[in-house]
Symmetry: C2
Subunit: 244 residues, 2 copies
């Protein structure tokens, strides 16, 4: 499994992915699931992947190969020439459909070939945006009414976001909540694991300056987890007990 | 969907279930998913149900009809004569298999006929125990290493239990955590809804004296949710922010 999270706020984006890939219990490995395409001052595009690893790697590789080639929107689309993040989402969807067309019938006897993606970033004057590309290649966009999108093992980490994330949350608070959401998921499920790649993108900056890798031993993340666990236990203890 | 939770502690049990049943978005209703069988001073048995409503109701009805009939362990087993909760779990599994044998082929064209159960309680000198009966009719038992069992929409409510429930938790604390686990689930998922039926069973008491129904408006639960949300927001705010 995988857990990827994208948060859209008026002030920017927080995008995060775990690193666990597993094809059965005896083949557990780590991979980077956050791919970055950047032309500082012009565009920042991050693509987060979940699903069949061969499919997601083929999609990202094809997008990389076509980057700079000037192709129009479609399976050979040029992500570095796309006019908007909407066009980028279309390119990701088209490439995914092409990879599935080529591979689906060969892979299905062995397992699920499908994959899905989060696409976040900003291109020039087009505001910062966040999309979720489904395994069918179609996609939806995050908004102030629906400020976060998730892929993979989404449920364990959703309650903390539902409770604490609002349109008034700052980017640092959102990054903190993202790490707590990952911690909840990792504690409750073996199939999601650090390191966490986390991109904090400030709207209008048009550069990916704040990309961090949080290993399990990362001092900030270890401290955050410890303080949160202690604080939560104290909170629960402070609450009144039910009477019957 | 459904959410049922059973917690086993050295001092007793906490068993809780929601009340949402839905067969499509336009047929949402509430049902009681906690069935109680009691002979005060001798035995307390609670059965919590998840899955196909016709199946779970048929299983509980058959168990009720056979109660007091003196049947040995099997699909006609007498839950009021069973020597141990292990035997009760066997009866529930056998009845489930019988209901599935009779109905599966007719129901499958329309949907999933399967169901699963939590069985908790105490019979005389046999200590208080907690079992999860799978849809195949086999079952597993909770223990100090694995103190809680869940049915249905299990993931949203798991992190709070993973973090805060320990073998040193008292029954009141466990009841509080159970209600917070249900609140997390209800907030994040439409398919689980109050009222919550919650049984707090003290080991050795051999009576089901503490059974409560928590509606959304229940003063204690409303207060608990409010305090927890406020406290959690304050906790998150108090945590240091990441640096990049």
């Amino acid at each position: 499994m995988t857990y990827c999270l994208g948060i859209w706020l008026p002030t920017g984006l927080v995008l995060a992915s775990d690193s666990r890939t597993s094809a059965g219990v005896d083949q557990i490995s780590t991979v980077k699931k956050l791919a970055l395409f950047e032309k500082p001052g012009e565009r920042v595009v991050a693509i987060l992947s979940a699903g069949n690893l061969a499919t997601t790697q083929a999609v990202i590789s094809m997008i990389r190969q076509n980057a700079g080639g000037g192709g129009a929107v479609g399976p050979e689309g040029d992500i570095l020439a796309a006019r908007s993040l909407f066009d980028v989402a279309q390119i990701v969807g088209s490439v995914l459909r092409e990879v599935m067309r080529l591979n689906r019938s060969f892979v299905e006897p062995y397992g699920d070939p499908s994959a899905s993606f989060l696409v976040g970033g900003q291109i020039a004057e087009d505001g910062h945006r966040l999309f979720q590309v489904y395994s069918a290649g179609n996609f939806v966009e995050a908004s102030s009414r629906n400020p976060f999108l998730q892929l993979g093992e989404t449920k364990y980490g959703k309650p903390i976001l539902d409770r604490a994330l609002t349109m008034r949350s700052g980017l640092d608070e959102a990054a903190k909540l993202a790490l707590l959401s990952f911690d909840a998921t990792i504690r409750s499920n073996l199939s999601v694991a650090p390191p966490i790649d986390l991109l904090r993108y400030e709207a209008g900056s048009l550069k990916a300056a704040q990309l961090a890798k949080f290993t399990a031993q990362h001092p900030y993340w270890a401290d955050l987890r410890e303080r949160y666990s202690t604080g939560l236990s104290q909170l629960v203890e402070s609450l009144p007990e039910p009477r019957f």
